[in-house]
Chain length 208, copies 6
C-alpha cells in the first residue's frame, strides 16, 4: 500500500502542482509538490514535515528561479509582492533529501508563470544553485512506483542513465525517459506553453 495518494492530482489543471518520486526503505512512491501565491511581502512558507535538506532544496530552487526571472518572463516585483507557500502532502509524513529539487523548481516556475505542467510526467533530481541537475538514489524503486501510478514520462539527471540501464526492460516499457544536465532542460520539457485556465493576475503595489 502506498503512503502517498497517487490519485490526488490526475490532471494538470492547477498551476504549481508537480509530481515527484520518493524512495523509502519499503519502496518507491510518487509525491506531489504544491505551490501557491497570495498577496504579501515575499515571505516563504514550507510545510509537510520537511527535513533540513529538503528545506534547503526549496530555498535553492527559489534562488535559482529568481536569477532566471527575466528569461522566464516573470516580473521581478512579484517575488516581493506575493507570499509563496510550498507544501508536500501528506502533511504528517516526514520527508527529507535533495531529490525533490527539480520537482520543486518546476512547481515554482509553474506558479510564477501560471503555465501548465505536462500531465503524466514525474521527475527526480537534485538541483544546484546555478542550475545543474545532480543524480539521486533509488531510481529502480522510483521507476516502479511511477509506472504503478500511471506516469508516462520521467525526467532524470544524465548521471542516472546507468541506473536505468540496470533495470529489466519490461519495467521501463512505455515510459519516456528524459536525461538532462541542467535545469533549463527540465523546464523546457515540463512547462507547457499554455497558461492554466483563469491564471492569477499579479498586482504590484506602487510605492511612492
Amino acid at each position: 500500500s502506498e503512503i502517498f495518494d497517487k490519485e490526488l492530482y490526475q490532471d494538470n489543471k492547477l498551476a504549481g502542482v508537480v509530481t515527484g518520486l520518493a524512495w523509502t526503505s519499503v519502496g518507491g512512491e510518487i509525491l506531489f509538490i504544491e505551490s501557491s501565491l497570495s498577496k504579501g511581502k515575499g515571505k516563504l512558507t514550507l510545510s509537510g514535515q520537511l527535513g533540513d535538506v529538503m528545506k534547503e532544496s526549496a530555498i535553492t530552487a527559489l534562488s535559482y528561479l529568481r536569477t532566471q526571472a527575466d528569461e522566464l518572463g516573470i516580473d521581478h516585483e512579484v517575488f516581493d509582492n506575493y507570499d509563496l507557500h510550498v507544501h508536500v502532502p501528506a502533511g504528517a509524513v516526514p520527508k527529507d533529501g535533495p531529490s525533490a529539487g527539480i520537482t520543486m523548481l518546476t512547481s515554482l516556475a509553474s506558479i510564477y508563470t501560471q503555465r501548465k505542467v505536462k500531465s503524466r510526467l514525474a521527475m527526480t533530481g537534485e538541483i544546484t544553485l546555478r542550475g545543474k541537475v545532480l543524480p539521486v538514489g533509488g531510481i529502480k524503486e522510483k521507476i516502479l512506483a511511477a509506472k504503478r501510478a500511471g506516469i508516462k514520462e520521467i525526467i532524470l539527471s544524465v548521471k542516472n542513465r546507468k541506473d536505468i540501464e540496470e533495470i529489466d526492460e519490461r519495467y521501463i516499457k512505455g515510459l519516456t525517459i528524459n536525461y538532462v544536465e541542467a535545469v533549463d532542460e527540465v523546464l523546457d520539457i515540463a512547462l507547457l506553453k499554455d497558461k492554466v485556465k483563469k491564471p492569477m493576475k499579479f498586482v504590484i503595489d506602487k510605492k511612492g
Copy 2:
C-alpha cells in the same frame, strides 16, 4: 469520560467556531476550533498546545483561504489589517496530526466572512494547499464520539467511505455523512448564507 467538553458550543451563534473530531488511544472525541480577529498587522497566533503537524495544517489552511479570497468575497486587505488567533481548547491537552485541516479551514472561512457555521455538524479530514481533502484515521471512533455529542451531520473525504462501510449500521443511523473530494465542497456544506448577529465590520487602514 471525555477529555474535551462536548457541551462547550451547543449553538452556532459565533463565527469561527467549528466542531472537529479527534482520536486518541482511548477513543474518539469531539473538539472545537476557535478563531478570532482583532485589528493588527496580519500576525497569526496558534495556541492550545498544538504539535508541529497541526500548526502546519493551520498555516496551510490559511494559505489556501488567501488564494480563495475573491471567490469567498473576502477583501484581501483584511488579512494584513487584522491579527488572527486560532485556539483549540482545552488549553493544556497536547494535540497533533493533520486531521483537523478542514475544520480549521472552515473556522477561518467563517471568521473572515462572518458567516454562520451549520449547527450539529462535525468534520475530519486533512487539507492540501491546493484544496484537496485527504482521508484520515480513527473514523469509527470519531463517529461514535460524534453521536454521543449529539452531532447530526458529518463531512469526510471520499477516501474514508470504505471506513464507514465497515461500521455496523446502527451506529451510523441518524447521521448524514457527506463525502467530499475538495475543500470548496466542505465550505458549500458547512458555511450558511447568513452572517452571525452583529458581524464584525472590517476597517482597513489607508496608507498614503
Copy 3:
C-alpha cells in the same frame, strides 16, 4: 507554609492586580497576577517563570480582550501604543497550567480600563478564545487556601459546581461562590465601576 505571599496585595488600590488560586502537590495557594502598561509599540512581556500552557493562556486572554475592546470602552489604539507586561510573583517559582486564564483576563481588563478590581475576591478557571470558562482541578485545595488568605468571594466555572458540592460545608461557610459560563460574567463580578485613583491617561501617537 505558603510558597506565595498572601499579604502581598491586601487592597485593590492598583489596577491590573488580581488574585488567583494555584494548586500544587502540597496543597492550594493564592497567587497574584500583575499587569502594567507603558508607552511603546504593543509588545507583550510575560515573566515569573511561566510554562508554555500558562503563556498561551495569557496570549489567549489578550486576544479575547482585543475582540471585546469596544464593549469595554477600550480605545483600540491603546493596544498598539503601549507595551504590556504580565508578571506573576514570586519570580523564581515555576508556574504552569491553564487555570489562571480568567485571572489573567481580569488583570488585563483592569489595566486597560483602569477600573478597580473587587477586593477579597479570588478566581480560577480556564478561558477559551471566544470567552467560555472551563473547569479546572484542585478546587478543594484552592478553596481552603482562599479562606486561609482571607478571601470572601470566589469565581468558578459552572462545571466546577460538583467539586464544591463534595466539600464539607464548614470549609465553604462565609465564602460567596459565583459560578459562571462565560468571561463577560467574570468581568461583571470582578471589575468595579470606579477607576483607580490617578488612572493612567493613554496618549496615542498620531501618525501622518
Copy 4:
C-alpha cells in the same frame, strides 16, 4: 576568598553602579550591578552569564521604572532613544535568582536620572512588577559579606526582619538596616538628590 571583587567600586562617582548581595553554597558575596546608556532605539542588553530568573528580574525592574517615569522626572522619550545595557561582573561567573531585583531597579533609576547612589550601601530583595519588595534567602551570609566589604547600610524587605533578628547582634553592629515594603522606599534611601559629575545629557531625535 571572594568570587567577586569587593574593591571594584569604592565610591559612588558613576551613575548606574549599585552594590547587591549574593549568596552561594560557600557563603555570601557582594556584587555590583552596572548599567549604561548609549544613543540607540531602546534595545535592552543583559550580560554577565545571567540565568532566566535574573533576566526576568531585570526586565521587570525596567517595566516598573517605565511606569514611574513621570514621578522620577525621566523624559519618557529617553527609553526609546537610548539603548540600555545591564552587566554584572565578573563576566564568567553564572548568576541567577530574583534577589538582585531591587539592586537592578536602583541601578536603572540612577542611570536614567543620572543621580548618585548612596555610598557604602548594599541591598537585596525581589521586586514585583507593581513595586512591592519580597523577602529573599541567605540573609545571614549576605550580612556577613556586606560587613567584610565595608558596607555601612543595608536595604531589606520587611519580611526579612525575622532573619535579621536571628543573627547574633555583634555581626550587625555598626550596620544601619532599612526594612521596606515597596520600591519607592528603596529609591528614597538609595538615590541621592545630586547628579553625578558631568551627567549625560539626553538628546531625543525629532521625527517629523
Copy 5:
C-alpha cells in the same frame, strides 16, 4: 568513488562558481562553491548542510569583501540591494571547517564583479577578517584529488609549503602551485580581467 561530482563545472562560464578542496577520513575531494545574486535587501542565505565553522567562514569572507569594495570596483549599494545565496553541492552531504574560506571569498568576488574565474584552478585555505590566508590540513589528499579531477593550478597558504615538500614529486608534476600570504594575492590569481558573457547589470533602488 567520489562523494562530490568532479565533472559538474568543467568550464568557467558562470560567475560565482569556484573549485575548492575538501578532505574527509576517506581521502580528498574537490567541491564547488556556488554564489548567486537576485534583487532584494541584502539578505545572506547559506545552504548545502554547512556546519557552524563553515558558515562563519562565509560570513567572514563577505565582511572582508565589503571592506574591499572600492578596490574591486564594486558599488557598495549592491550589497544592500541584492540578496546573496551561497550553496555548496551536493546538498545532502554535511560539510564543515574553515578551509573553504578563500574559495568562498573568490566566489563572492566573482559574483559581485561578474568577472570570470580562471579555469582548472582549485584552492584551499582559511581566511581571516583582515585578509590573511591561514594554512589548512589534508594537503596531500587534496592535491591527489585535484589531479584526479583535472585541476592544473592550486592556491595555498605559504604556511602549507612544507606539506607540499613532503609529497613525492611525481604526484605534483604538472600542477602549478601558488603560495600566498594574503587574500588580495588569491584574487590576483583567480579572477580574470574579463567579465562573464551577459554579465548581470546591477540596478539600485533610489530612495527619496
Copy 6:
C-alpha cells in the same frame, strides 16, 4: 607547537588588529582580535567559534566604547551607519572566557578611530561595563607565550601584579609590564596618536 599563528600580524599597519593572550590546559598562546567596519545599519557580527562569555565580553566592550564616543572623538552616527564584525582566528578553534575583554575593547577603539595600535604589545584582562579592568588567570603561561612570540610590552590588571611577582625574573626580563585599573589607561598605552595609512572615511546617511 602553537595553536594560533604568532607570525600572523607582525606589524601594526591595520587598524583594529590587537594581540591578546590566551591560556589553555597545554599552555599559553597569543591570539589576535580583528575588527572591521563596512557600510550598514549597525549590525554586530562575532565569529571564530566564540563561547557565550567571550561574546558577552565583546558586547560589553562595544557598549563601553559607545559611552566614551565623545571622549575618543568618534562621531556617534558611525555606530548606526556601519556594520561591525569582530573575528578571532583561527576560525575552527573554540574560544571562551572574559580575558580578551580589554583586547576587544582596544580593537574596537582602533577601528572606530582608525588609530594605529602600538606594535609588539599584548594584553589580557576582563573589562566591566563601566570601564574597570579585572584580573584574569594563567598569567605565567601567558607571559611565557608572549615572550616566545616576540612581544615587548604587556598590559595587565593591577590585581594581577601578585601573579607576576611569583614568576622567576628571568622570564620577565625585557618585558615592560603595565598595570592598570581602568580601561582609559589601556587605551592611553595601546592606541597611538597616528592614524593608519589610508584611514577609512566614514560617510553618514542623511535622513530627512
